[in-house]
Symmetry: D3
Subunit: 120 residues, 6 copies
Amino acid sequence: MSDSLTEFRRFRERMNTRILERGPLTTKRFFALDTQAYQEGALSVKVKELLGLVASLVLRCDDCVTYHLVRCREEGVTAEEVDDAMAIGLVVGGSIVIPHLRRAVDRWDELDGGVEGGRE
Amino acid sequence: MSDSLTEFRRFRERMNTRILERGPLTTKRFFALDTQAYQEGALSVKVKELLGLVASLVLRCDDCVTYHLVRCREEGVTAEEVDDAMAIGLVVGGSIVIPHLRRAVDRWDELDGGVEGGRE
Amino acid sequence: MSDSLTEFRRFRERMNTRILERGPLTTKRFFALDTQAYQEGALSVKVKELLGLVASLVLRCDDCVTYHLVRCREEGVTAEEVDDAMAIGLVVGGSIVIPHLRRAVDRWDELDGGVEGGRE
Amino acid sequence: MSDSLTEFRRFRERMNTRILERGPLTTKRFFALDTQAYQEGALSVKVKELLGLVASLVLRCDDCVTYHLVRCREEGVTAEEVDDAMAIGLVVGGSIVIPHLRRAVDRWDELDGGVEGGRE
Amino acid sequence: MSDSLTEFRRFRERMNTRILERGPLTTKRFFALDTQAYQEGALSVKVKELLGLVASLVLRCDDCVTYHLVRCREEGVTAEEVDDAMAIGLVVGGSIVIPHLRRAVDRWDELDGGVEGGRE
Amino acid sequence: MSDSLTEFRRFRERMNTRILERGPLTTKRFFALDTQAYQEGALSVKVKELLGLVASLVLRCDDCVTYHLVRCREEGVTAEEVDDAMAIGLVVGGSIVIPHLRRAVDRWDELDGGVEGGRE
């Protein structure tokens, strides 16, 4: 139903490198800004990643959702917190969000080593 | 170009089960509401499915379009009626809708017994 | 909270005339196509207007919603049918649709003779 | 440039009452669900309101942004936290978000009694 | 139907100042980047402003459209070129774009001193 | 990560044929209009294709982006011009555009015979 996380990461890294070597300067600076936005500030990194997750979910961008799920997990966000955040995304964005929610939960399970990794 | 209907259905069912067992309550209630919305009321089920189809098309959600095409077919909506509804989605949503229209027509053909049913 | 229906209609007509006298041909043809899309076909005019209404609601275009509410009323669509259609728009499009739903219901009440006509 | 907060609240309350008396049941339940989604859960009310704020900002809904700003303020969210959250909305949603950011900051100032109220 | 250009400019300038004094740094840098993106590069300023115009039109942001129309005029873009660009926005974005097209043409006329200014 | 250009073209042609044989007339006329919009007018074909590219990018339609990249290349648009145009799409549309930018740059490389094909 979707590329594996490994494929996602490889393609993401390869193309980020390509984009940054092509430019223009505006694009390079945008990428730097995108990293800076999620750094510790008045809000914690954890809350910022949840904000990024919900923004990505209501704008229905699977790759962006995957990225923020990976980051949420790295920051120690629990499954219950992710589900709570995504419930808000669902109510704000409507049933059109559901297919993306399905893929998001599948990703989270994959990160958990559940469905794909086979342990859990 | 796209997952088969069988894969679509399996993934959909598996993830719906996962989502409902994870919760939270808000998400579960949203799923119930989503089912309720399309039940017979002042408007017939058939008209409601056409409304869901066009809303999904202009919001450009392939999985949602597939779901409503399946439901339209079950409710006896004809190909001409579906095409008429999708023409409105195309005019309202613009050429950006065209790639989704292509996949929608392909799905309808698949439902018609082409790819899945094996006759045509 | 919003311009009156009379203002809406005047601005709409004045600017449509301006747009059609400016061109280009592509724009003129698009306007013709937009009219044609809602004419009787495999689906009735009434169903097509409901499709236009829900598409406009989920895409959150107040002016488009107003236009289709006016047309729905002209075609004899009842308040219950409009509410049923808009409920689908709400579930598909999410809570982000609510401010537009408020203005839509206000318009419908205005069309009913409340604010503008006073009698009907 | 925008209706005052008082007008916003009056219209909002009046139309919510109208919508709930009209129905259908799906719409009423959606409104209940929309309230429930922001209640204390795995995430705090404060974080949930920030999620609602950013989701509303990237989806570019001024009324929704106003609502969540009012709620954020009631929950004791600081100006710095709101600005941090909106910066993420800006980076995720792009420059198209800027006009909504302008109105959001104007609203926050209005809530502060600053620009409009004249005290502070 | 809309605020005058003078009001638009005053509000825009006042709020840009407010936003830049509030921060955070991410927001300030985004504003700088937004200016930089439209400077002469592989493409001319004129073409870049047309790109900004069409992007704003299909994303249906009236304030952004107004801004780029002002800039197009400053760069010597003709009415025919603007109409040609907007026709593409109309076909790509669909009839949902029409209300924004109406306001855009009204703005252009206002910039021309035509409809509102009364001379020309 | 994505279907090859050859697959894209085959599916696109096959489904366009299907759509045009199914109708209705509104849909057929829309397809004709879509072709007409990009023909030489007050703006050159090259500028129009860049407008189509950026509109497709901010609306996040990979297939539409692919189509306009192919057309840009046929019209002699350089990599630097495409990158400049896409940088505007990125700033207007925000980080949500990045996954589509990655696939767009990958497509351009594929058209160049670079990364995938190796010769052309």
